[in-house]
């Protein structure tokens, strides 16, 4: 009849046929091959996601009986969906957990232990994994995932600013500091006041003060909990000293701007910052910046011992996986682990020692520098209420760095709040210390 009428009919036809068309495209229609379909979910939304997708395609091509379907979304959304799908019994067969998230998912029994799979002859060569990294997913009497990488905090430094400030070795090359004296010396030489009297160049910046101060506390020999996690001991004298050092960088030595949180990173990219402690995952961001002359080095030892905060991605299996799906999923996990050097191209450090000894890894300059810290990496505390801990910790650090409380005052408040959370969990019958198995 009339024009709108026809277009409406067209719309209806399209709307009705579209879902049918997409289902047949997605492969559900091809029942003849009887492939084992594995759903694989992760939070790799950056360039790392494209790297992982290429690995999945290679695996699918090499294993015609298995089809891995990868889905990715940002980490926060990802964890929520994973949790909800786990509750409904529809969790994906294979998924990625960051090490700090493993205890919560293990306690909710969403993750399968993998020790029976590694124990068989020709199983995954666990001896090739860095033992402290693998130990981080060891809860109770089981390991709950296969770590494929780690992202230690490392130092990025601007070589041009180092040369201009005269912080150089005998050949005139920028010389990254390795201890507290060298660090303070470099930072104060680089810090410079501009024409308006305001500082326009800083030696150092807190880009993420939680990871930075956590690392400082580890280096000063601080403790966070009693070994059985029954009590928080954040207000430890060593932690206070570490936090005071951070406060002094801003307010006493004046080599770092007041807390800017994350966006201070832009300052480093703009070439106005000498040094920053950030994760390896920021590398891709810097490599895009062609005019920035930067390099990576281990975080200098600013306290009494070498230590840095780190995280890892772990490949995990659904709690109730068995039979041929388990076999297929494990084949995929092994493939990713064996090929984690490809994964490193996306800006990660592989945790298979044999892979790090290859010439190819040596050419990844920043990764290789950051990898030197592996023997002394530390993970976040093993807590089911890790987010609440991070909130309290962040608040305490922030207040101190802004000089709105002394380190001791702010840490005392956080400590008592965290102890109240432990109390709350205990009263509700939730185990806080070692996880049940």
């Amino acid at each position: 009849m009339s024009e709108p009428n026809r277009s409406r009919r067209q719309f209806l036809t399209t709307a009705l046929t579209l879902p049918i068309a997409t289902t047949s495209l997605s492969g559900c229609g091809r029942s003849g091959g009887r492939k084992i379909v594995l759903r694989f979910r992760n939070g790799f939304t950056g360039p790392d996601g494209r790297t992982m997708l290429r690995m999945v395609q290679r695996f699918n091509a090499a294993n015609p009986d298995i089809e891995v379907l990868m889905q990715r979304m940002d980490w926060a959304t990802y964890y929520n969906k994973l949790f909800v799908s786990g509750l409904g019994g529809r969790a994906p067969e294979v998924f990625v957990l960051q090490t700090h998230a493993v205890p919560r998912f293990a306690r909710a029994r969403f993750v399968r232990g993998i020790d029976d799979l590694t124990a068989v002859p020709n199983g995954l060569p666990v001896a090739d994994l860095d033992s402290n990294v693998f130990e981080a997913v060891h809860i109770g009497d089981r390991h709950y995932g296969v770590p494929i990488d780690l992202w230690p905090l490392g130092m990025y430094y601007n070589r041009q600013l180092f040369r201009e400030a005269g912080v150089v070795d005998e050949r005139g090359q920028a010389k990254p500091p390795t201890d507290a004296d060298g660090f303070l010396d470099a930072a104060s030489k680089i810090t410079r006041r501009g024409s308006g009297g305001q500082t326009d160049r800083w030696g150092f910046v807190f880009t993420n003060f939680e990871s930075n101060v956590y690392t400082l506390m580890l280096q000063f020999g601080g403790r966070f909990f009693t070994p059985d996690y029954s009590r928080c001991v954040l207000n430890d004298p060593n932690n206070i000293a570490a936090l005071q050092f951070g406060v002094d960088l801003i307010h006493r030595y004046k080599v770092a701007p007041p807390p800017e949180n994350y966006d201070a990173w832009i300052g480093f990219r703009q070439g106005k910052i000498g040094m920053a402690f950030e994760g390896i995952y920021m590398l891709a961001d810097l490599q895009k910046q062609k005019d920035l002359d930067f390099a990576g080095a281990p975080v200098p030892v600013l306290g009494t011992e070498a230590a840095v905060w780190s995280g890892s991605h772990n490949l995990c299996l659904r709690g109730d996986l068995e039979g041929k799906h388990l076999e297929a999923a494990w084949r995929f996990v092994r493939f990713v682990s064996d090929n984690s050097l490809d994964w490193a191209e996306g800006g990660q450090v592989p945790v298979r020692r044999s892979l790090r000894r290859t010439p190819r890894f040596e050419t990844m300059a920043v990764q290789a520098q950051f990898a030197r810290q592996i023997p002394y990496v530390h993970y976040l505390p093993r807590l089911p209420f890790i987010f609440e801990f991070q909130t309290e910790f962040g608040l305490a650090v922030e207040k101190a760095l802004r000089k709105r409380a002394t380190p001791s005052e702010s840490l005392a408040v956080a400590e008592s709040n965290i102890n109240r959370i432990i109390e709350r969990e205990r009263n509700a019958g939730n185990p806080v210390g070692e996880m049940p198995v």
Binding site: A76, N80, F83, L87, R104, R107, A108, R109, G196, Q198, P257, P258, P259, E260, N261, D263, A264, I266, G267, Q270, K272, P384, F385, F387, E388, T391, G394, L395, E398, K399, R402, R404, A428, G429, N430, P431, P436
Partner: protein, 289 residues
């Protein structure tokens, strides 16, 4: 009669898709949320959900972070709502004097930010606000002014309000402009003949006749203000020092970071009561006179 009844059924038939969706995605979750508020259900816990009566509500009243979040929310509403309405009204009155042909352009221009998603706006403004390297402070630097926009607990909330103004003023402005254009020019002509000044006719003609639209805009803005989330989530994540952690942000964290579903449901109902309280007052205002 017969025709009428049939038309009645037909009306329900047309409403049915909406009713189904509304029931499934609004009514049922609401009821579920209400029930959940009386349970202790920690998704992380190996223990199953357990009925705890009013325990969650008791915890909320004793929870310093709840009160802090409520106060942050109230601070946002008190700052943002009056400013939005005054600005929207000024813009609408000004635009109303622009010849109709050119109005469309300005209307679209002021409305445009509202169309941009909060994730884009949020990232953009976070860069503007960066106190060391952002656009705003770079522009102020020649005058020797440096404002800690989102890094100082006292500045962060006003900064969020400023960004919200830019982002949301278009909606109320369009509504108010439509309201203004419904006022017959005859009133203004008569007032002008009687020698009324611009301010007098604004106070005695524009404002009273605009009242229904104004109250409508006010109610929507207050409700929206109490639910503020996107700006906070994108720009400050509740910081610095939790000064901008509003109720919805706190509820979100409780439910989806800490997985304490029962407690989060209880907090949501408390927020609902707060919003309901203010909405009733405002609708009363609308009914008067």
């Amino acid at each position: 009669m017969n025709y009428r009844r049939r038309a009645g059924y037909l009306a329900y038939l047309f409403a049915l898709p909406f009713l189904l969706l509304f029931t499934t995605f609004v009514i049922l979750p609401l009821i579920y949320g209400l029930v959940l508020g009386f349970f202790r259900w920690d998704m992380l816990s190996p223990n199953p959900a357990r009925f705890v009566a009013l325990e969650n509500f008791r915890e909320a009243f004793a929870d310093a972070y709840f009160w802090r979040a409520l106060m942050a929310t109230v601070r946002f509403v008190v700052l943002a709502v009056p400013l939005t309405i005054v600005l929207a009204l000024s813009l609408a009155v000004g635009l109303n004097r622009v010849p109709r042909r050119r109005q469309a352009f300005y209307r679209a221009a002021y409305y445009l930010p509202t169309v941009i998603t909060i994730s884009v706006t949020g990232i953009l403004w976070r860069w503007f606000y960066n106190s060391e390297f952002g656009l705003f402070n770079a522009s102020l630097a020649p005058f020797g002014i440096k404002i800690p926009w989102i890094t100082d607990p006292n500045w962060a909330m006003p900064s969020l309000v400023l960004m919200t103004l830019w982002w949301t003023v278009g909606g109320p402005m369009v509504a108010l402009l439509a309201g203004l254009q419904n006022i017959s020019p005859a009133y203004f002509e008569a007032a002008a003949l009687d020698g009324a000044t611009g301010w007098q006719s604004f106070r005695s003609i524009t404002l009273p006749l605009l009242r229904p639209v104004l109250v409508f805009v006010l109610v929507l803005n207050v409700i929206g203000g109490f639910q503020v989330f996107g700006q906070v989530y994108m720009i400050t994540r509740g910081g610095p020092e939790l000064s901008t952690r509003t109720l919805v942000q706190y509820i979100y964290e409780t439910a989806f970071n800490n997985y304490r579903m029962g407690y989060a449901a209880a907090l949501s109902w408390l927020l609902f009561l707060v919003i309901g309280f203010f909405s009733v007052i405002q609708f009363r205002m609308m009914r008067e006179r």
